[in-house]
């Protein structure tokens, strides 16, 4: 993908016509200039006014400023260093390692890892297993990434960090909101004519509580590089650099809204995650637009900003020329563009800066272009996505634009058949390569301290390709088993090669840990818990209704005692808490136990298999100041089962069980006991049942720091130390 474009500088991945055409252009320009001099000597006399010619020299200005700043930094460096030395001279005094490298492989499954290691496919992980530690890593209740990674970084149970799911519910209207961050527009506005100009900054409030362990390290003078750990948006200040990961929104403020621009007329709407935009064709030119955020200069809904683009198909060459603003590029059918900058202009100088990629799906007979969700431009971030803000810019300048969206791999587009398997994988691995580059830069920049990076690819690819791991998954019944691609095996091997390259970069003084937040299981059958609650008299619909719409449309709250939304949470409609609550607090305990008893062991009538293997009353599993925000019960689905797509969105259907035929065919939002994560480490730990909550205390202890008393995890002991102390 990477092309070299003069002077040995690696150019960024570009569109297909992005090769070095500069040479031809230079030759033509040379002849033009020389001929102009020979034939038209009077041209110079005709030059109008103080020309722009000297502008070329202005470029040296930037370099001049750079050197001025460098000189300043260099001259003051000894004083700053002395100051820091005095303040933090004992930072590494009791550290057992000078550096800890933690690689998070979201969703890496211990059983699959073990199987592939035993088959000899993962030599580097096998080396870690032989020399250090390989173990299952107990996950959180529920086994959901934002929950587990929040526990990883804070060393506490969800009752102390306040993240229980991707979504939380608003008790005043039973509607969902994002559990990790809240973005509020400025309250004050100045109205001038048709404009309503916001005053002040957009307020971004992080909902995750607790203190990430790298803050404790920073206070002790230990530097950390933290790359794409989930639920780190908005980024918090500490001694180090951080790039936010999962939960960073796109430019629209959603968790990722792709766009399918098409000449096909359809009134169908995508269930989630995408919009269909018409393409108008005239005189061989197709025109469409990318929908962007709402205009900040109006309070009216529906004032969406847009960026227009043009597609000129060349059917013979199976390619199209695309023009977006000043950017022009050619794509072949089935090819992605590089990241294209797009500016959504609202007027009065208000501009939202984004980046997106185009994928040419089809040019004849119809024209279809897929556009990724518009990511926040890391080189020009309109919202803070890193600490310091300049860190995302630094990475963008160093490696070119990259995906900033939390859930950057467009799983919805694959679910909706907008992307096919290959297009999805190309996108996922392109993002993965960017993150690998960031990791290796962080390794180079963090010779001492903590370097941690979470890779989402493992999670997304397993979610979408588990169907090929089994012989009879409902989502892959139309593909003969012999033709199932080895996507997940390839994924694990790719991650293993990454570990190999990391191992080449570290020495004995570095602790390498590879962890995952949870494992994976099949998601072959959907279970609509709202339907079960309805059919068992806990949830009531309005008279005459047999099903509800999304988010509890047509639910009669005056007769509803329990409901579910999100992936694992089950809520009582509690009086005094929910706006239309009817369950008396005194009856709540009894109702929870009743639901626990009835749901536990719920069998699928189609096969007799157990759909729910555990129901946990959260008062028993959570401790802390934020337990009031927790669901009342956590439902642990059995292997092969998960909350249905409708149930997650607060919809009551007639069927309780149904097949899952979506590409999203593997999952982990089940009984947490069934999906532990993995723990590999370069040094052996003595711990029989390690848990993800133990990672933070372990790291602090290895750096010789005292453990905060509110931690729920316990620090693991190194085998070498245990042997030395005779334990």
């Amino acid at each position: 993908m990477t092309k070299s474009c003069g002077a040995g500088i690696p150019a960024r991945p570009g569109p297909s016509d992005g090769a070095c055409v500069c040479a031809d252009r230079s030759v033509r320009a040379t002849w033009f200039v020389l001929l102009a001099f020979l034939v038209l000597p009077s041209l110079a006399n005709a030059y109008a006014g103080p020309g722009a010619g000297f502008a070329v020299l202005s470029s040296f200005w930037a370099i001049f400023v750079a050197f001025l700043y460098s000189f300043y930094a260099l001259a003051t460096w000894p004083f700053r260093q002395l100051f820091r030395f005095v303040r933090r001279r004992n930072a590494y005094g009791k550290a057992k390692f000078k550096r800890a490298v933690i690689l998070g492989f979201d969703g890496m499954d211990p059983d699959l890892a073990d199987r592939f290691m035993n088959e000899g496919r993962l030599p580097h992980l096998a080396k870690l297993r032989a020399r250090g530690t390989f173990s299952k890593l107990r996950t959180t209740f529920p086994a959901i990434s934002p929950v587990a990674w929040s526990t990883f970084m804070t060393g506490v149970n969800p009752g102390k960090h306040n993240i229980y799911d991707f979504l939380a519910r608003d008790t005043s209207n039973y509607l969902p909101f994002l559990s990790s961050a809240e973005i509020k527009e400025p309250k004050r506005r100045l109205k001038i004519g048709r404009y309503s100009i916001p005053f002040g900054r957009t307020e971004i409030k992080g909902m995750r509580k607790g203190t990430p362990f790298w803050h404790w390290l920073g206070k002790a003078g230990i530097f950390s590089s933290v790359i794409r750990v989930p639920v780190t948006f908005p980024p918090e200040k500490f001694q180090g650099v951080l790039l936010s990961g999962m939960c960073v929104p796109d430019l629209k403020g959603s968790q990722g809204t792709f766009c399918l621009c098409t000449t096909r007329i359809s009134n169908d709407k995508f269930r989630e995650g995408g919009v269909r935009v018409p393409v108008e064709r005239a005189n061989g030119v197709c025109r469409s637009y990318i929908p962007g955020p709402e205009s900040p200069l109006t309070e009216k809904a529906g004032s969406e900003l847009r960026v227009a683009f043009e597609v000129r198909p060349d059917v013979g060459a199976k390619q199209a020329r695309i023009t977006v603003g000043a950017e022009k590029f050619t794509l072949k059918v089935g090819e992605y563009s590089s990241w294209i900058p797009v500016e959504f202009k609202a007027g009065l100088g208000f501009t939202a800066h984004g980046i997106c990629r185009f994928y040419l799906k089809e040019i004849a007979p119809e024209v279809e272009v897929y556009v990724t969700p518009v990511n926040i431009d890391p080189g020009h971030p309109d919202l803070p996505i890193s600490h310091p803000v300049t860190y995302s810019i630094y990475l963008a300048k160093l490696y070119g634009p990259y995906a900033t969206l939390g859930l950057a791999e467009d799983t919805w587009a694959l679910n909706e058949h907008v992307l096919d398997d290959d297009a999805f994988l190309a996108q996922a691995y392109s993002n993965h390569e960017d993150r690998e580059r960031m990791l290796f830069d962080a390794l180079d920049k963090t010779k001492q301290g903590l370097c941690t990076c979470v890779f989402d690819t493992t999670d997304r690819v397993q979610h979408m390709f588990w169907r090929y791991l089994e012989g009879d998954h409902p989502a892959a019944r139309d593909v003969p088993h012999s033709q199932h691609p080895q996507v997940i095996q390839d994924l694990y091997q790719r991650m293993d090669r990454l570990i190999g390259r990391v191992m080449e970069k570290i020495d004995e003084g570095t602790l390498l840990m590879v962890i995952s937040d949870h494992g994976f299981k099949s998601f072959a059958r959907c279970l609509n818990l709202n339907a079960w609650l309805h059919q068992n008299g806990y949830l009531a619909l309005k008279d005459g209704k047999t099903e509800s719409g999304d988010w509890f449309q047509d639910v009669d709250w005056s007769r509803t005692r329990a409901y579910t939304m999100g992936l694992n949470g089950l809520y009582l409609n509690l009086k005094g808490r929910e706006k239309q609550g009817i369950v008396n607090p005194a009856e709540a305990e009894g109702l929870k136990k009743e639901l626990q008893q009835k749901l536990n062991g719920l069998a699928d009538p189609a096969s007799g298999a157990v759909g729910i293997t555990g129901v946990f009353i959260t008062d028993d599993v959570y401790r802390g100041p934020y337990t009031d925000n927790a669901p009342d019960l956590i439902v642990g689905y059995g292997a092969g089962y998960r909350a249905s797509w409708d149930s997650v969105m607060g919809k009551v259907t007639a069927q309780i069980f149904e097949d899952n035929v979506k590409a999203w065919s593997g999952d982990h939002c089940i009984d947490p006991r069934l999906v532990p994560g993995v723990l590999f480490s370069s040094h052996k730990f003595v711990e029989e049942k390690p848990a993800i909550v133990d990672v933070a205390p372990t790291i602090l202890q290895l750096f010789g720091l005292p453990l905060p008393t509110h931690f729920d995890g316990k620090a693991w002991e190194l085998a070498a130390e245990a042997a030395a102390s005779g334990d």
């Binding site: 320009a29 200039v33 110079a44 030059y47 020309g51 000297f54 070329v56 202005s58 050197f67």
Partner: protein, 234 residues
């Protein structure tokens, strides 16, 4: 010129080079507590600057030629002021030998008068006349050297005018950069005819500034403006 630079340069490589320079600068700030990293970043900034200059060199070459000629042309108008009427000025004629020097004489228009006897500088084969013009206008001063005649234009004006300080025989490159007139005939015994036009300075906020400084500043502003408008990396 910005457009010429845009077409003659590898825009993509220049953007990457500039971005990398910025990245290394940011690295100095982000990792300022780590001396080896800061030192490494400085080295990369130096290397990056070299790479950038290399990329800018060829297009700069293309731009330099017209710019140089442009400045020469502009200097004719802005570098010197014309001779003021009734103000004395010097006309210096150089001959190709002592004999020819001794034979030099002037044939002046009616509006031009000699205000002092000619001075012969034998060591340089030069004769210097002090003259003055009674009225504004463009005149031809005829230098008579035996059987040869050579002319030199003279601008007398209080307004900006295109002036040529010297007329030369041969000396192509010198003529290109310093003379605004055609060459003297190759057979002429006159090597050069020069007039000492006064230097022009532009007064801005009480300061006398050479036009080239002002040109530099205005060009920078125009360049920045146009590079943004045209989307060209410089």
């Amino acid at each position: 010129m910005v457009v010429v630079f845009g077409y003659t340069s590898d825009q993509k490589a220049i953007k990457v080079a500039k971005d990398q320079l910025k990245a290394h600068l940011l690295a100095v700030r982000l990792f300022r507590d780590q001396l080896p990293l800061v030192a490494g970043s400085y080295a990369k900034i130096l290397r990056g600057t070299g790479r950038y200059l290399k990329l800018a060199f060829m297009p700069l070459l293309y731009v330099t030629i017209p710019i140089t000629l442009l400045i020469v042309q502009l200097d004719r108008y802005l570098g010197s002021t014309a001779i003021q009427s009734r103000a004395p000025f010097l006309l210096t004629v150089r001959a190709d030998g002592a004999e020819a020097m001794n034979a030099l004489a002037l044939d002046l228009p009616a509006e031009i008068a000699m205000t002092a006897p000619a001075v012969h500088v034998a060591a340089e084969n030069e004769v210097v006349w002090r003259l003055a013009a009674s009225r504004d206008g463009e005149y031809e001063i005829k230098v008579v050297a035996g059987g040869d005649n050579a002319t030199k234009t003279l601008q007398v004006s209080s307004d900006p005018a295109r002036v040529s300080a010297v007329r030369l025989k041969g000396h192509f490159w010198e003529r290109l950069f310093t003379s605004g007139e055609s060459a003297l005939p190759a057979s002429s015994v006159v090597e050069s005819i020069a007039i000492n036009y006064p230097e022009r300075n532009i007064e801005i906020a009480g300061y006398e500034i050479n036009w080239i400084v002002l040109f530099f500043v205005l060009s920078m502003i125009a360049g920045f403006l146009f590079k943004e408008l045209l989307g060209i990396q410089i």
